[in-house]
């Protein structure tokens, strides 16, 4: 059932040209150089340290590594991270 719904959603984005992040609960990530990263639609913080931020997503996780991380703002669905971002990686996406 869940897979069917997933398929239906993908079909909607493809044929109706609806933005994928809205329909499929995907994160929207905006980066400004390596200084800022702005993530919408996350589901919580799994780990945070000076050099690493691990966010829970609807599916899987997002791992951001770098240096001197500061979370400028945290809201229930948005995060603004500041620092020197070296790597953005998806983990465990089915």
């Amino acid at each position: 059932m869940a897979r069917l719904r997933q398929k239906f959603k993908r079909w909607m984005t493809n044929t109706l040209e609806l933005p994928a992040d809205v329909v499929m609960d995907l994160p929207r990530i905006t980066m400004i150089g390596h200084l800022h990263i702005y993530i919408e639609n996350h589901r919580g913080v799994k780990a945070f340290s000076n050099e690493e931020l691990r966010l829970i997503l609807e599916q899987g996780e997002l791992l951001i590594t770098g240096k001197e991380f500061v979370l400028k703002t945290i809201l229930p669905e948005e995060i603004l991270l500041e620092g020197k971002i070296l790597d953005v990686k998806y983990i465990d996406i089915s």
């Binding site: 919580g44 945070f48 000076n50 979370l71 945290i74």
Partner: protein
């Protein structure tokens, strides 16, 4: 910008959270609508949050096995707290400001210029009675224009008093009446007639009388001569005395039959305002005025601080009910009134020792709703005028 202000007003704290499961705390904040910002982590988690939120997270933190320490506090609540703990200082500051305010609104000096010592003394006494003294608060005194009016009214020996308020000093500029000095004309003189009259009475101190009682004299005619003596013993002296004569005057007065004028009924309603930067904020006296016709009298009092006028003033608006009254005279009544008015007018023109012998209505006409009355007066007055004898031999 607004965010900075709300942050300032609510007060923010910077705290450190010690413990292994700091992420749990972050998620807890996300799920419970606790705002945090500027989160960083080196040894411990350092973050900023609102003061009131910081009190709420105590218990959950303990459950998560974390400790928190406050590093810095910022914002209005802490300043208020500090002010309360130093209430003596704050009270002193408040008292100081109040004192400066009161002293700035006090009469400190009263200066009088242009008056001789006697007049000055009188003036000081008059204004003292009006309540203008050193140390009085300015906003409880009438305004300078009113003082000027009252002081000028009360003092007979001055023509005009100018009152200005400069800061905390009242300046009174006095223009004194210059009473003409009595001319002691000791030189030889005659007395001549001022106007055409019928001589009725004479009181001559010195000089030779040239006219008789019941004689008609023309203007400029010699009444009492300064030349006395006969033949070779002629001397010239200053003729002195009073010659009373009957003089005729004609006065025209017109009285409208119908007049409308406004009078105040005595009902009034006061409204009080405090004006801030030109904004009038009502303080007392609300509600609509139910008078059909009214007059507004405004009384503005300004406040000062040291040298400066504050943008705050107190305004009292007195709303007085007025009423237009129309008055109508019958022709007979109008004539009567006109006669009265003419009498008064005549009286006011006469000198002290003159008297009205009789007044008669010459004729009266009514046109354009007005009664025009011509009065004819017989007045007995001093008709003597001094005329120096020039080139006397």
């Amino acid at each position: 910008m607004t965010k900075i202000w709300t942050k300032y007003l609510r007060g923010t704290v910077k705290i450190t959270v010690e413990g292994e499961h700091a992420e749990k705390f972050l998620n807890y904040c996300l799920n419970n609508d606790i705002q945090i910002w500027e989160v960083s982590r080196k040894e411990h988690l350092v973050l900023n949050m609102y003061t009131d939120d910081a009190l709420k997270i105590r218990v959950p933190l303990r459950q998560m096995g974390c400790k928190f320490k406050v590093m810095t506090r910022r914002g209005a609540p802490f300043i208020v707290q500090r002010m309360i703990s130093r209430s003596g200082f704050v009270a002193g500051l408040g008292i100081f400001l109040v004192l400066v305010f009161l002293l700035s609104n006090m009469v400190w000096n009263i200066e009088v210029t242009g008056a001789d010592p006697k007049t000055e003394h009188h003036l000081r006494k008059v204004i003292n009675e009006m309540g203008i003294k050193k140390g009085k608060l300015l906003f409880r005194l009438p305004d300078p224009r009113e003082i000027q009016y009252l002081a000028t009214e009360k003092m007979d020996e001055v023509t005009w008093i100018g009152v200005t308020l400069e800061g905390t000093t009242f300046h009174f500029k006095v223009v004194q009446k210059e009473l003409p000095e009595k001319i002691e004309s000791l030189g030889p003189q005659n007395l001549i007639a001022k106007k055409k009259a019928f001589v009725t009475n004479m009181f001559v101190e010195q000089g030779q009388v040239k006219v008789e009682r019941n004689q008609l004299v023309q203007k400029g005619e010699l009444l009492v001569s300064g030349n006395i003596g006969k033949d070779k013993n002629v001397r010239t002296v200053a003729a002195k005395g009073k010659v009373f004569g009957e003089v005729w005057y004609r006065t025209d007065v017109s009285v409208p039959l119908k007049t409308t004028f406004n009078t105040l009924t005595g009902n009034h309603n006061d409204k009080h305002f405090v004006s801030l930067f030109g904004w009038n904020v009502p303080v007392w006296g609300f509600g609509k005025v139910e008078y059909k016709e009214f007059e507004v009298m405004e009384d503005v009092k300004n406040f000062r601080m040291l040298k400066w006028e504050l943008p705050i003033s107190y305004i009292k608006k007195g709303i007085h009910e007025s009423e237009s009254v129309s008055r109508e005279y019958t022709a007979k009544k109008a004539v009567e009134i006109a006669k009265q008015m003419a009498d008064e007018e005549m009286e006011s023109h006469l000198e002290e020792d003159a008297s009205i012998k009789s007044g008669k209505i010459l004729h009266h006409t009514i046109d354009n709703g007005k009664v025009n009355v011509s009065m004819y007066y017989k007045v007995i007055e001093n008709i003597a005028e001094e005329q120096p004898i020039v080139g006397g031999d």
